[in-house]
Amino acid sequence: MRKDKFVIFSSVVILALLVVFVGFPIFSTFKLSLSDSSGLFSLSSYQSLFEKPWLRKSFFNSLLLGSMTASISVLVGFVFAFVIARTRVKGKPFLKFMATLPIISPPFMLSLSVILLFGKSGFVTRLFGIEDFSIYGLPGLLLVQTISLFPLAYLTILGVLQGIESSVEDASLDLGASRLRTFLLITLPLSVPGILSAWLLVFVTSLADFATPMLLSGKFDVLSVQAYLQFTGSGNLPLGAALSNLLLIPCVTAYILQKYYVQKKSYVTVTGKPQKAARDLTSRPVRIILSAFVFGASLFTLALYLTCLAGCFTKSWGIDYTWSLENFAYVWQVGRQAILDTLLISIIATPFATMLGLLIAFLVIRKEFFGKRFLDVFAMFPFALPGTAIGIGYVLAFNNHPILLTGTALIIVLAFVFRNMPVAIESAKASLIQIDKSIEEAATNLGASTHRVFWEITLPMIKPAIFTGAAYIFVHCMTAVSAVIFIVSANWNHMTVLTLNQTEMLRFSAAAVLCLILILIVLAAFGILRLIIGKNAIAKEIVHT
């Protein structure tokens, strides 16, 4: 085969970039975890992990929280997906909106609202005079994580339910099965790969979650926070690194399971053909119960968002509930720079992440070259990593020559680019697979070089996927916290870190204002996206990302 210069050049460059900006930080973290405070080789950090009960405990706590959150989220997500895909319940647009809103919300928003309502001086707590109950710890964590993460489960399961050929359920009914038995014997078993996939996805995300436990963990120590505390609070960098590596293991394992095992078992064929509307499998009483559940959950979630909104306008939540706009003034004064910094960094990082991801997807799906499989896996790897690992890795890797980046905006931009690139890769891959290869082959046949084919033929055809991927990357950049908290500096701050600071200082109303600003920016980004590519394209794409 004729050597394609473009392919060789780009694959080599990309590989080099990945080695430096993905491999090197991870390597640095490992190296540090295997040394003691004077820099010599030592297994003491890992020894501590095994010996010290409180560290073991935080590991098990993380696993426990992750499993419980995943299980509950999958249940809630399944009910939502089922109601949307298989019943005649009214008000689906509202349900769909509420089921995806948490994905684009700022990381502390829900925790904040829960504290505002159910904390010791919370509105609801005071209202009902509830004593002896603390929202901190497992209950609060479960509540907030479930609400934050069930959308992941919902979207995954929805995709699977919509992919099940509707006539299969018809056939079951036709052969004499009742609706309930059809659900149990056909719908449910066919959904199992999707359910497993969703469970693993939520599990990994819960493990990596840093924002929620920072606010709500109370005495329930989790690994993500411990790693941070050891690294920054205690100054025990090797131990922090080791903890981060420990967190890596379940995350990467679950990711591998999900991607390479569960997905293979899918019964869904991606044909792109429009599906006939599926049969309503529910009887009226069942429908009423399910409706009550999903609407109840949605309204509760909505109430949390509204609480946050209310928090913006109170003088000092918990102490002084008078209406006031002073928090806006305060945030403008204190946070203006951080808001602009965050916007600037996110706006710079997004196109690079998108284009790189797109290029990689194109190379992997359409071309053959040496090291292709390796590139594919390597580029997707950051997806599996918890933000903490990336943050620590970047600090360690780039605070020394030859590549000295700490304290600059560039380090944050790079972290964002390589962390979020997988989103663009997934989105572009899914879109590319559905496009007939012969269109591009026709262009090549007529004389276009590879890079012209890429720019002039492929790119325009997958526009919706690109823009949706970009929107999600932008959101991830704006709402990142677990990676960012290690690499912000005197010169470049991030809104989420600022929100955390405000919350720690118990300036809840100010934190609420920051959350509000963040969510408005994110909604604006999606509004722009909708204008560019239209409503229906988004619905399809959201399932892929």
Binding site: G233, L344, T406, T408, A490, N491, E504, M505
Partner: protein, 336 residues
């Protein structure tokens, strides 16, 4: 053609990208600092400094531990010029790691020896005294008496109602441990902490949080710094009462250090000097602190300590050397 527009956009973004690698405070008359002072205090002070000297200050507020970690991470390319505030112990640790530079000037010469590093690596700003703060409303409702002794805290009436910071991350809390060790010896101190654990509802990440929680009614009792509590009590309408342990209590010295190889040390030096000026001292006093130099400064009457109060000194160097061991011990014995 669409291609050209894409190239232009691409170039633009590349430019931005490259720009992000540059430093922000390139302009000549500004510095960037890390501060562990209370945010609004820092804001007030630094704005006043800017007004007087025309030097702009960009600051990031970080807890003591975080600031130290950040400074260490950036050691090969420090982003901040100095570290303002934060527990003296933290500054001593940085000195030991070779991350700070000594600074002496006419102003610092006058600082009493007890309130600064002998070699000039850090200079003290004020003392923070550890005290108890109780939410009187909660106390009344639960029929609790305001504590006047360390032992009072061990009483079962306080079960689940006390908050203190996590000593692993908060200088305030570590200060508490060293004070107790100084007062009753290590073994007894840990026994005390173990018994105290039963009454603790939460070990907060930041040092100031327990106090604020008590103000909010989230907690009934906390241990915190006198000046913070007094100010909070005066400014908000929270029902707070301060009390002192009769056995005596410990204190911290908040300090300022010049970061080694930090940008614009001359401007940073100006800031350090200014911290001891009349203006700065008055600002600190207004905020219920007791600054190093009190001459000609109007102190808040509520901020004045009772003369009967016994202060327990801690050897900062000893505290620094034993920190890891003690925190470890605390984690294994108490935080399980």
């Amino acid at each position: 053609m669409a291609m050209n527009r894409i190239w232009v956009a691409f170039a633009f973004f590349c430019g931005l990208f490259a720009l992000s690698g540059c430093s922000k405070t390139a302009s000549s008359n500004s510095i960037a600092i890390y501060t562990s002072l209370d945010e609004s205090m820092a804001r007030l002070l630094l704005e006043s400094f800017t007004k007087e000297t025309g030097i702009k200050v960009d600051f990031v507020r970080l807890a003591t531990g975080e600031a130290a970690a950040r400074i260490e991470a950036e050691k090969n390319r420090p982003q901040a010029a100095l570290w303002l505030g934060g527990v003296g112990l933290g500054h001593a640790e940085l000195k030991a790691k070779g991350l700070t530079t000594p600074y002496t000037s006419e102003a610092t010469q006058k600082i009493p020896a007890a309130l600064k590093d002998s070699e000039g690596y850090w200079n003290g700003l004020y003392r923070g005294i550890l005290v108890f703060v109780t939410n009187t409303k909660q106390a009344e409702a639960r029929k609790l008496t305001v504590p006047t002794s360390w032992n009072d805290l061990l009483s079962p009436q306080w079960k689940g109602l006390i908050q203190i910071p996590n000593p692993g991350t908060s200088g305030t809390s570590y200060n508490l441990i060293t004070t107790l060790i100084e007062s009753m010896g290590e073994e007894k101190a840990f026994e005390y902490l173990k018994n105290l654990h039963k009454n603790i509802s939460q070990y907060t990440k930041s040092g100031a949080a327990p106090t604020k929680n008590v103000a909010l009614g989230e907690s009934a009792l906390a241990i915190g710094y006198f000046h913070d509590i007094v100010r909070l009590s005066q400014e908000s309408k929270a029902p707070l009462q301060v009390s002192f342990p009769k056995e005596g209590t410990g204190y911290e010295i908040a300090a300022v250090s010049l970061i080694k190889n930090g940008p614009k040390p001359e401007l940073a030096g100006k800031l350090i000097d200014w911290m001891y000026s009349k203006t700065a001292s008055q600002l600190l006093a207004d905020y219920y602190y007791v600054p190093v130099f009190t001459e000609g400064v109007d102190l808040r009457k509520e901020a004045v300590l009772p003369t009967t109060l016994k202060l327990i000194d801690t050897n900062i160097d000893w505290a620094g050397q034993n920190k890891e061991r003690l925190i470890d011990l605390w984690n294994s014995k108490i935080n399980t």
